[in-house]
Amino acid sequence: MDLLLILPLAIPLGTAVLTLLLRSVPGVQRLTSVLGAVALLGASGTLLWRVATDGIRAAQMGGWPAPFGITLVADPLSAGLLGMTAFVAVAVAVYALAGMDEARQRFGFHPLFHLLLMGVNGAFITGDMFNLYVWFEVLLIASFVLLVLGNERRQLDGAVKYVGINLVSSIIFLAAVGLLYGHTGTLNMADASGRIAELRGSGVEATLATLFIMAFGIKAALFPLFFWLPAAYHTPPAPVAAVFAGLLTKVGIYSLIRVFSLLFPDPTGYTRTVLLVIAAGTMVVGVMGAMVQRNVHRLLAFLVISAMGYILMGLGFFTTLGLVGAVFYILQDVPVKTTLFLIGGMMERDTGTARLGEMGGLYQYRPVLAAAFMVPAFSLAGFPPFPGFWGKLTLVQAGLEAEQFTIVAVALIVGLFTLLVVAQIWSRAFWRPATEDDVQASGSTSQRWALNGPIVALAVVLLAIGLYAQPLYGLAEQAAANLVDTQAYVDAVLGPSAGA
């Protein structure tokens, strides 16, 4: 029995329970929350290390053998995402101590945050279709409550749109799961990948693929299903927005990669064109939306969408190199987006406004924040030596190799526009000389440590990934090899005999 696969689910659940029961003693509750996140990082880190060295691990829940029971599987992609999730979880848990108001912390931020982590981890680690649906719902209900926590009017407003569209997406996914079960007789993803061959080329296969693209496309905010994201992500406080931006869309795109590599590994069909067109639309719409925004949080929300396009582009090529690029990009994008949203929160906190046009003087008065901002921002724009550069470089190489020149051109142009957007933030909020009311002193020294510490830690790790990309790139290569040739995954789940 593999304890390592249980811990990424059991630790957040245990922490959620403890923080819920300890809510009358705030000090202990917050300590538990941070310790729980650290323990999760330890467990996920160990799992990642073991998967990277020994290969794919699987565990059967409740002693029911696959494909009848629920299987947990950790391949390099899942394990890498689990590790990144735990890493940003620690950063956000520390940031929230000072960056979240007392009332919200008391009314349940900590339990909900850990419940959300459990849902995200569960979605990354499960090998069962229906179980994936259940984890989606776990993370959705936690995110719903986190989004409205505090009951501000604009939070309710954003939440109505977020809740509505995400419920529709869940039900589309549920219908797709039902169809898949009806035609293959199994819910285990590895088992289904063997049995779906009988449906190859039929209308059922096309219907299933469309339903999965719709369901996961809404979750991942792909063009043209992205409208809910910029409507909601700027309304909650920075720690909540940061964990949403870092993780939730990644769950959607991860599921898309997982389902397409296992069920529809069709490198030439028209699905590839569809995916590439969607990818181009997502990139362009994201960056164009970001250019016209005057509110820093809404601007960042549009940049989240743009990054999804790059990842989908890698999946659309469906070559090994393309998938290496996609996996590398998705892994480094988790801390990039989290850092950016945390910094966005700091910018509003220090200048008292979220409007870029009214900010100024941050470079002068908050040099640490300014230095930390450089890393994720220029990584997003694809500057060497930041990690985003390696991701984009690989994706562009893959595109040239696959002779998809149009999308490569779109990606490069979108990269330029992203640079423009980032430079706009930099020149307005950071470089512009301060007027007397611009930067406000806020918080005690310990508060500033809790706020700046996680941001600096995230930025340093990102810089380290950029300067020494080989370990993460090697992991992405392993993950891509397993996505292209799924035999290892299937063997790990069903046992080696099933492949023969």
């Binding site: 059991a10 659940l13 819920l20 029961l21 565990a59 501000e152 008292g352 409007r355």
Partner: protein, 151 residues
């Protein structure tokens, strides 16, 4: 606020019945249709009825625990039943069963799934009551909007 006398008298009779029936459903779920979810809904509806007839404040007093505590204890039960199997060296969430022969010829066949079901029971009561209270009380104190609300 005036509460209906008819409803008050009727709930006085109904609530004990509902609560006993909910426990019956919970235990029956052991090997027949029923279980923690249905039982929890029935028990939750008893408290909702009480809130309708006497007000949310009175229902909170009768419940004794805050709904959040019920949620926490329920989730802890569910997690505990899974970990119990791990301690025994079985796979996570494996059902463990015990035959107990008590004096007086009572034969009990108990499983760790019952602990999980009790957890579900408590979580469902907690959810139903929490949602109900939050609608009736217009929620916890509304936090004033941050500066620059329109941005």
């Amino acid at each position: 606020m005036i509460y209906s006398l008819i409803l008050q008298v009727a709930t006085r009779l109904l609530i004990p019945l509902l609560l006993v029936f909910s426990v019956f459903m919970l235990l029956r779920g052991h090997s027949h249709p029923g279980g923690g979810f249905v039982g929890g809904l029935i028990a939750g509806s008893a408290f909702v009825l009480y809130a309708f007839s006497r007000g949310v404040g009175a229902a909170r007093q009768v419940l004794r625990f805050e709904p959040q505590t019920l949620l926490g204890v329920g989730l802890a039960c569910a997690l505990g039943s899974g970990i119990l199997a791990l301690i025994q060296g079985e796979a996570f969430l494996t059902g463990l069963w015990a035959d107990l022969y008590l004096p007086g010829g009572i034969h009990l066949y108990l499983g760790s799934t019952l602990i999980f079901d009790i957890g579900v029971f408590l979580v469902v009561i907690g959810t139903v009551v929490l949602m109900m209270f939050s609608v009736e009380e217009r929620g916890p104190a509304v936090i004033p909007s941050r500066r620059n609300d329109t941005s």
